[in-house]
C-alpha cells in the first residue's frame, strides 16, 4: 500500500499525500473543479473555514466508512480520506449553497466597483459574476463604516470587507508585532487597529495583497488607474529584507504600483517588504524579467499586453524590449 491516499473530486481521481485538504487536492487537479476560496490562504497558517464559499459535498466519507458527511463541508479545512468522493460543481446542492453564500457576502457590500481600486482583480467580483444574482433581494440600508488610514500607505475601507481574517493572520504571522485585529461581533464586526495605531511594520503592506476585496488598498496607487489599463511585468531587485521578487504595474513609462507576484489562485508567491512595495517606483530600481502571465479569463488580459503587437510602452526602453524579445520576434515574423 502506498502512503498516498486516493480522492475523487467530481469524478476525477487524484492521489495526494495524507493530510491534504480537499481544496488542495482539487488544486492538484486544477481547472473548473477547484472550489473558490475567499478566506483560505495557503501561506497563512490557520486561515480558512470562514467564508464558506469553498463548501463541497462529501458523498462518500472514505473506503472504510463510506457514509456521506451529513452537511456540506468547508473544503479548505477538511482533510481527505482514502477513497473519499467529493462533489463540487457536479452537485446542484453545492452550487445552490454557494450562491447563497455569495448573496450573503454581497448584501452588505457597497458594490462600488466603479470607484474601487481592486476592481478587475477582485475575488469577490469574480465570484459575483459566477454565482451572484442579477438584482439584490436585500432592500435595507447597508452597514457603513468610516474609512480609516492605517499608516500613511494603507487605507481601510471597512464597507467592502468580507471579514476573511486574512490580513489578521498576515499581521500575526508575517510581522512580529500585531496591532490590528477584529473589533465587535456579528455584522458590526470590523477590522481595526488598536485605537487606529498605524501599522508600520516592514511587511505590513502585504495585507493589501492578501485582501480578496478592495477593503485594504494601497494609498500610493489610490485612484491612479484601473488595473486593466496597467501592464504587469515581473521584476526583481536585491533587497536586504525580502526576496525582492515583485510584479510592476506599468502605465506608459511609469510604475504605478508594485505588488508581490501572485499565482493562479491569487495567492502571493513570496511576501515583499514595504520598501519594495511603496518606495521603489522607478524602472531603474528593478531588473526587468518578463511580462506577467495573466489568465485569459481575467479582465486584465483584455488589455492584450502580451499579444503579438509590441507594446508601445516598451519601444524605446531597451531593458523592457529585451524582456519582450519573444513577442518582438513573433511580430517580426508576422
Amino acid at each position: 500500500m502506498s502512503d498516498k491516499v486516493k480522492v475523487t473530486i467530481d469524478g476525477i481521481t487524484v492521489e495526494v499525500a495524507p493530510g491534504t485538504t480537499i481544496l488542495n487536492a482539487a488544486r492538484q487537479i486544477g481547472g473548473d473543479i477547484v472550489p473558490p476560496a475567499m478566506c483560505y490562504y495557503s501561506k497563512l497558517e490557520g486561515s480558512g473555514g470562514k467564508c464558506r464559499t469553498c463548501i463541497v459535498k462529501v458523498s462518500k466519507g472514505s473506503e472504510k466508512d463510506p457514509r456521506p458527511m451529513p452537511k456540506l463541508v468547508a473544503s479548505c479545512r477538511t482533510t481527505v480520506m482514502d477513497g473519499m468522493e467529493v462533489q463540487n460543481i457536479t452537485s446542484p446542492e453545492v452550487i445552490e449553497a454557494r450562491s447563497g453564500v455569495v448573496e450573503m457576502l454581497l448584501i452588505n457590500h457597497p458594490l462600488d466597483c466603479p470607484v474601487c481600486d481592486q476592481a478587475g482583480e477582485c475575488d469577490l467580483q469574480n465570484l459575483g459574476y459566477e454565482h451572484g444574482l442579477q438584482k439584490t433581494r436585500y432592500e435595507f440600508e447597508r452597514r457603513t463604516f468610516e474609512r480609516i488610514d492605517i499608516g500613511d500607505k494603507i487605507q481601510l475601507h471597512m464597507n467592502r470587507c468580507i471579514l476573511c481574517y486574512r490580513c489578521v493572520f498576515t499581521a500575526d504571522q508575517i510581522t512580529n508585532k500585531r496591532v490590528h485585529g477584529i473589533l465587535n461581533r456579528g455584522d458590526h464586526s470590523e477590522i481595526s487597529t488598536y485605537i487606529q495605531t498605524a501599522v508600520d511594520n516592514d511587511f505590513s503592506g502585504n495585507v493589501i495583497d492578501v485582501c480578496p476585496v478592495g477593503a485594504l488598498t494601497d494609498k500610493t496607487f489610490r485612484f491612479k488607474n484601473r488595473v486593466w489599463f496597467t501592464k504587469p511585468i515581473d521584476a526583481h531587485r536585491d533587497c536586504p529584507t525580502c526576496s525582492g521578487k515583485v510584479t510592476l504595474w506599468y502605465k506608459g513609462e511609469d510604475v504605478l504600483r508594485v505588488t508581490a507576484r501572485k499565482d493562479i489562485y491569487g495567492e502571493v508567491e513570496e511576501f515583499i517588504c514595504n520598501t519594495c512595495r511603496f518606495d521603489k517606483k522607478k524602472t531603474a530600481d528593478w531588473t526587468i524579467e518578463h511580462p506577467t502571465q495573466i489568465s485569459d479569463t481575467s479582465v486584465i488580459a483584455s488589455n492584450h499586453y502580451d499579444t503579438l503587437r509590441p507594446l508601445p510602452v516598451i519601444q524605446d526602453n531597451a531593458r523592457l524590449q529585451e524582456a519582450n524579445r519573444i513577442e518582438l520576434e513573433k511580430t517580426t515574423k508576422f
Binding site: 480558512g48 473555514g49 470562514k50 467564508c51 464558506r52 464559499t53 463548501i55 452537511k71 456540506l72 468547508a74 479545512r77 449553497a97 447563497g100 453564500v101 448573496e103 450573503m104 457576502l105 448584501i107 452588505n108 433581494r137 436585500y138 435595507f140 452597514r143 468580507i162 471579514l163 481574517y165 485585529g181 477584529i182 465587535n184 461581533r185 456579528g186 455584522d187 458590526h188 464586526s189
Partner: protein, 454 residues
C-alpha cells in the same frame, strides 16, 4: 410526587452552605468514587445510566467521555459550561444559586473519571452573584479537604477554578468557550479537531453542561442502572425544565423524562395551566433555538398520541411536525401572543449574538431580523415570507457552529406552522399593530391543522 434527584433538598434552609449540604448526604458520591471506584468504572456507570447532555444537543455524556484522548504526559481538562444564555433557559443559574455544592461535587467526580487535575467552570459574565456563590462554595469544599492536593487521602489532586465570561451567547458553543477561556476572542473553532482530541490549550478536553455534571452525583450514589430506570426509552433520568411564558406557575421544575406535555402544562403539580384562564396557542419546547410548535402539535404527535417530555417524543415527526428537547427552556404562549413579534424578537437576539466569523450567519441573521421587523411593524410584503424561508435555508447547515442553525430554525418553523398569521400581518398592516391574530385554528385537533400545512 415525582422523584427528584437534583432538587431533592432545594427547600432545605442554607443548603448552599457546605455543612448543610454535607448533612443531607452531600459529597457521598466523591467518597464513593474516589475510594471505591477506578476512573474507568465511573465512566462505565455514567455510560450505563444513559445520561444525555443537558446543554441542548443531547449527546450521551458517557460516550463523550470515552472519546477523550488520553496521550501520556499531556494534561486533560474538564470544563463546565455555565454560559447559559439561551432565551427561555435559566435552570443552570437556579442550580448554581441554590445548590452550588451539587455542581462542585459533580465536578470532582467527573474530573476524577476523566483524570483531569485542573478543571474550570466557565460562568457567563452577567451571573456575578453566582460566580461569588461558587467561589465561596469552592473555598468551603477546599477547607473540608474535597479539593486541592491529595483529596480524602486518596492521592488524587484537583484544582477547580471559576472563570467569568464576557457575556456572549456564542461562548456557550464549546469551542468558542475554550477560545474565550484561553483569553482570546470567542470565535468557534473549525472542527475537526474536536475538543476531545485538542481542546483547551491544545490538550484533550471535555466540555459539559452544568446539569449534566450535577447529574453524575445521583448516578454515582445510586448506580447507573438505577438512574437508567427513571425516564422513558433512551431518555433516562430527570431533567430540569425552565418553564416560562403565560403559565400560572412558571419556574424551574425537575421532571422525570417521559412526562406528557399536557400534564406538565395543565397539572397543578407542575405549571398549573395557562395564566388568566386563556388558551394555549404555541410552545417552544427547548429554548429559543428549537422550532416553535402550535398548541395542537405541542400536546399531541401527528398521529394523535400524546407528546411526552423526552428527547425522542419532542423531536418526533422531524421538523415538519416536531421540535427538540434542547436545553429544556419551555416557553408557553397564550392566545393573545403574536408569533410574528416573538419570531422577530428571537431573530433580533441571534443577530446581536452572531460572532461574525462566517458569512452566512453574520449577514443572514441581520437580514432575517430586518425583514421580520418590517413584517411586524406593518411594512411587510407577501414575498417577504418566502424570502425568509429561503434565507433561513441558506444559513442552515452552512455555518461553522450551530448558531446559524439555531437562528434559522425558529424562523423557518414559525412560518411553517403560522403562515396564516404572517400573511395576516401583510394584509392588515394597521390592524396588526394593535390587535392580535388570536388563536385561529392552532389548537384544533391535528387532522385539520395538518391539512392546512403546505
Amino acid at each position: 410526587m415525582a422523584r427528584k434527584l437534583l432538587l431533592e433538598h432545594i427547600n432545605v434552609p442554607d443548603i448552599h452552605t457546605f455543612d448543610v449540604y454535607r448533612q443531607k448526604g452531600g459529597y457521598r458520591a466523591v467518597e464513593k468514587a474516589l475510594k471505591t471506584l477506578t476512573p474507568d468504572e465511573v465512566v462505565e456507570e455514567v455510560k450505563k445510566s444513559g445520561l444525555r447532555g443537558r446543554g441542548g444537543a443531547g449527546f450521551p455524556t458517557g460516550m463523550k467521555w470515552s472519546f477523550l484522548a488520553k496521550p501520556e504526559g499531556v494534561a486533560r481538562y474538564l470544563v463546565c459550561n455555565a454560559d447559559e444564555s439561551e432565551p427561555g433557559t435559566f435552570k443552570d443559574r437556579y442550580l448554581m444559586t441554590h445548590i452550588p455544592h451539587a455542581l462542585i461535587e459533580g465536578m470532582i467526580v467527573s474530573s476524577f473519571a476523566l483524570g483531569a487535575h485542573t478543571s474550570y467552570i466557565y460562568v457567563r459574565g452577567e451571573m456575578m452573584p453566582q460566580i461569588r456563590i461558587l467561589e465561596k462554595a469552592i473555598a468551603e469544599a477546599k477547607n473540608a479537604g474535597f479539593l486541592g492536593k491529595n483529596i480524602l487521602g486518596t492521592g488524587y489532586d484537583l484544582e477547580l477554578y471559576v472563570q467569568p465570561g464576557g457575556g456572549a451567547y456564542i461562548c456557550g458553543e464549546e469551542t468558542a468557550l475554550l477560545e474565550s477561556l484561553e483569553g482570546k476572542r470567542g470565535n468557534p473553532r473549525i472542527k475537526p479537531p474536536f475538543p476531545a482530541i485538542a481542546g483547551l490549550y491544545g490538550c484533550p478536553t471535555v466540555v459539559n453542561n452544568v446539569e449534566s455534571i450535577a447529574a453524575t452525583v445521583p448516578i454515582i450514589n445510586d448506580g447507573g442502572d438505577e438512574y437508567a430506570k427513571i425516564g422513558i426509552g433512551r431518555s433516562t433520568g430527570t431533567k430540569l425544565i425552565s418553564a416560562s411564558g403565560n403559565l400560572v406557575r412558571p419556574g424551574v421544575y425537575e421532571i422525570e423524562l417521559g412526562l406528557p406535555v399536557e400534564e406538565f402544562i395543565y397539572s397543578d403539580e407542575w405549571c398549573g395551566g395557562i395564566a388568566n384562564g386563556k388558551r394555549l396557542k404555541a410552545t417552544v419546547a427547548g429554548g429559543s433555538s428549537v422550532p416553535i410548535l402550535p398548541a395542537n402539535l405541542s400536546l399531541k404527535l401527528a398521529n394523535g398520541d400524546p407528546r411526552l417530555m423526552s428527547y425522542e417524543s419532542l423531536s418526533e415527526g422531524g421538523f415538519a411536525t416536531g421540535s427538540m428537547m434542547g436545553s429544556g427552556g419551555f416557553i408557553a404562549f397564550d392566545e393573545d401572543q403574536c408569533i410574528v413579534r416573538n419570531t422577530w424578537n428571537f431573530s433580533r437576539f441571534y443577530h446581536h449574538e452572531s460572532c461574525g466569523q462566517c458569512s452566512p450567519c453574520r449577514e443572514g441573521t441581520g437580514w432575517m431580523e430586518k425583514v421580520l421587523h418590517r413584517l411586524e411593524f406593518g411594512h411587510g410584503k407577501m414575498s417577504d415570507i418566502d424570502l425568509l424561508v429561503d434565507v433561513s435555508k441558506k444559513i442552515e447547515g452552512n455555518t461553522i457552529c450551530p448558531l446559524g442553525d439555531a437562528a434559522a430554525w425558529p424562523v423557518a418553523s414559525a412560518i411553517r406552522h403560522f403562515r396564516d398569521e404572517f400573511e395576516w400581518h401583510v394584509n392588515e398592516p394597521v390592524k396588526s399593530l394593535d390587535t392580535n391574530y388570536g388563536l385561529a385554528n392552532y389548537a384544533e385537533p391535528i387532522a385539520k391543522a395538518v391539512s392546512t400545512e403546505n
